[in-house]
């Protein structure tokens, strides 16, 4: 069967070119490289499928994967998929996060997924002990080093159908009530053909992908792993940790490996620009880059421009910048800008925008916002903007983005309430606010209270609960929200407290958030008791609080 006819990830794996020429390269944290041609990826994954079956797993069983090594993660993930087991990728690193908070998160996800097994490596086993030893923990704990010992038994993998779940993507929901998106094979194959096809990246035979994105998150996992299998793109994987330790490595490797496709959230582009010294530039040749995609968090036009300006002397083509929009609930991608066209922006009046109208403004006018176009939906996908009553909005009218198409997933695993709230008859209500102008989608806010910092989705409640425990903070009178500060989505906490405690509270609240969530708070607003807006039932109103903050109307205690 040709790759273009594959309907599942398993069929795609079998249809990829044989031989040594095309495949995956995994870079280790020490700079070593491991290469697996696609044939070897499939062979190794098949053996792991047999090992899972041998460990007593049945098709449909969920397997939590807490595996930091990218090569081992990819092979173990695909092994589960071939065997008809459902992998559940989980953030594998606990560094600097309070150990307990990390372990709680892993435990909550494993339980929400109903994971029958958990696969991890020796190095992480001790940290995960509270999860694996819990009475309601996974029935089987597989340690990779032992899991791979000995010959793999013979195994006849089950038939996989396109509508079978391929994996569960946990990216949303609060820490204590995480929600796992069920992603089917059909979702993946169709979305990959959309975002890598002529209306997406327009994949070429000579393309080479390069990614440092985490593999437990949709942009790295689907964009660079599953998508490249569906469309046959050799790819180079760099551990996220290696990029974090030395951001300059990203562009150096692109230059060295002659990569043509890369992606990062906005912060990645900002960091690469900030860290590049003149002498670093001299050794770079970025003329190979055809696609430099940007998504997963709000895109700052100044960051895109600064990146283009900084790296143009190194051969970077600003036309390669490709903003896009998507989310795990829609598999990955929903809209793409036209490849090769660079990024486009729309400058609108800020106060009008708050009244849900995107009124064009001149570049020199006061009180304007410049938004980056996220492009248009794939031909397979329809997108509309609707108001609070579900009526279609007109051109330049702000409303909720709703989407229908083959990428829209069946919903959240084992969670009918959450599924019903976001999915209606195959239509996804994204919770994002945006408008369409000239066929281009602009995202300008969020209806749901989600906070997105550096591509990571955070639920305000988790942060509010941590802050509420700080002595001097009035319980239940804390609001966490994000606001665009200096063009970046940043975290703001508003808490009620006494004026004499205010200076101390500003410090202790920021410390608590850093300890519990490894997050930097841009601003702690300590406000007069009783001044946070509440509903009639006494619940704090997050959106209203944010509006007051942005209008400078929060009654903050002085320094």
């Amino acid at each position: 069967m040709g790759l273009e006819h594959a309907t599942t990830i398993v069929e795609a794996l079998a249809a990829l070119p044989r031989g040594e020429a095309r495949g995956y390269t995994f870079r280790g944290v020490d700079g070593s490289e491991r290469y697996y041609c696609f044939e070897a990826v499939e062979r190794e994954a098949r053996q792991r499928a047999a090992r899972y079956a041998n460990a007593g797993l049945n098709p449909g069983d969920r397997v939590a994967l807490v595996v930091a090594d990218p090569a081992e993660f990819v092979l173990s993930f695909l092994g589960a998929v071939i065997g008809g087991f459902v992998p559940v990728p989980i953030y594998p690193r606990a560094s600097f996060k309070a150990r307990n908070a990390y372990v709680d998160t892993v435990g909550h996800i494993a339980r929400a997924a109903g994971a029958r097994a958990l696969l991890t490596m020796e190095a992480t086993l001790a940290v995960l002990e509270p999860v694996t030893a819990a009475p309601d923990g996974p029935e089987k704990v597989l340690v990779l080093e032992r899991f791979l010992e000995g010959e793999a038994p013979t195994f006849e993998p089950p038939e996989i159908a396109p509508d079978d779940p391929c994996f569960l993507q946990f990216t949303s929901g609060s820490t204590s009530m995480p929600k796992g998106v069920v992603v089917t094979h059909r979702n993946l194959v169709q979305n990959a053909r959309d975002f890598l096809g002529p209306h997406g990246l327009d994949r070429r035979p000579e393309d080479v992908g390069l990614s440092w994105l985490p593999l437990y998150h949709d942009m790295g996992l689907i964009g660079f792993m599953l998508g490249t299998l569906v469309c046959d793109i050799p790819t180079y994987f760099v551990p996220t940790e290696a990029f974090a330790r030395r951001p300059g490595m990203w562009l150096e490797l692109i230059s060295e490996k002659r990569a043509t496709i890369t992606f990062a959230p906005n912060f990645g582009y900002a960091l690469a620009t900030k860290r590049a010294r003149d002498r670093d530039l001299a050794g770079l040749d970025l003329s190979c880059v055809r696609i430099a995609g940007c998504g997963a968090e709000p895109i700052n036009p100044d960051v895109m421009r600064a990146f283009a300006d900084r790296f143009r002397p190194a051969g970077f083509d600003p036309g390669a910048l490709l903003p896009c929009y998507g989310m795990a609930e829609a598999t990955l991608a929903i809209t793409f800008t036209k490849h090769g066209g660079g990024f486009q922006t729309d400058r609108v009046d800020a106060s009008q925008l708050r009244r849900r109208r995107a009124t064009p403004a001149g570049p020199d006018a006061d009180g304007t916002v410049e938004l980056v176009s996220c492009g248009s939906p794939f031909p397979s996908t329809s997108l509309s903007i609707v108001d609070g009553q579900g009526r279609a909005c007109g051109e330049r009218q702000v409303g909720e983005v709703v989407v229908r198409g083959p990428g829209v997933t069946p919903g959240y695993f084992n969670n009918p309430e959450a599924t019903e709230a976001a999915f209606r008859d195959g239509t996804l209500c994204t919770g994002d606010l945006g408008y369409v102008a000239d066929g281009q989608l602009y995202i300008c806010g969020r209806q749901k209270d989600l906070i997105i910092i550096r591509g990571a989705n955070l639920h305000p409640q988790d942060i509010e609960w941590s802050v509420a425990e700080v002595p001097g903070v009035r319980r239940d009178n804390v609001v966490a929200f994000s606001s665009l500060i200096d063009g970046e989505e940043q975290l703001v906490i508003a808490a009620e407290g006494n004026s004499k405690d205010a200076p101390e509270l500003r410090k202790s609240v920021a410390t608590r958030v850093a300890e519990r969530h490894s997050l930097k708070v841009a601003h702690v607003a300590v406000v007069r008791l009783g001044s946070l807006p509440k509903t009639s039932s006494g619940k704090v109103q997050r959106r209203r609080t944010r509006e007051l903050f942005e209008d400078g109307q929060l009654e903050e205690h002085g320094e």
Partner: protein, 81 residues
Amino acid sequence: MTRAKLLEIFRSTASEIAEKDLSSVGEDGVIADLGIDSLELLEVIGTLERDLDVRVPDDQLVGIQTVRQLLELVETKLTPA
């Protein structure tokens, strides 16, 4: 290398990466209080690794809370066992 020197290197590296003055941070300093996020801290460690020619594996960073604990960890990498 003395601890004082190591602390000095930590302060200057952290100040540069976080773009804030951390020159008076002491060993008792709690990392969460420094106002730098986990990504910046990893970059600080990456920079220390390169400047000092050591390797501090990610999994050993779990549970590190104070500047002292971090410097002690780096120190064990400096001195061959």
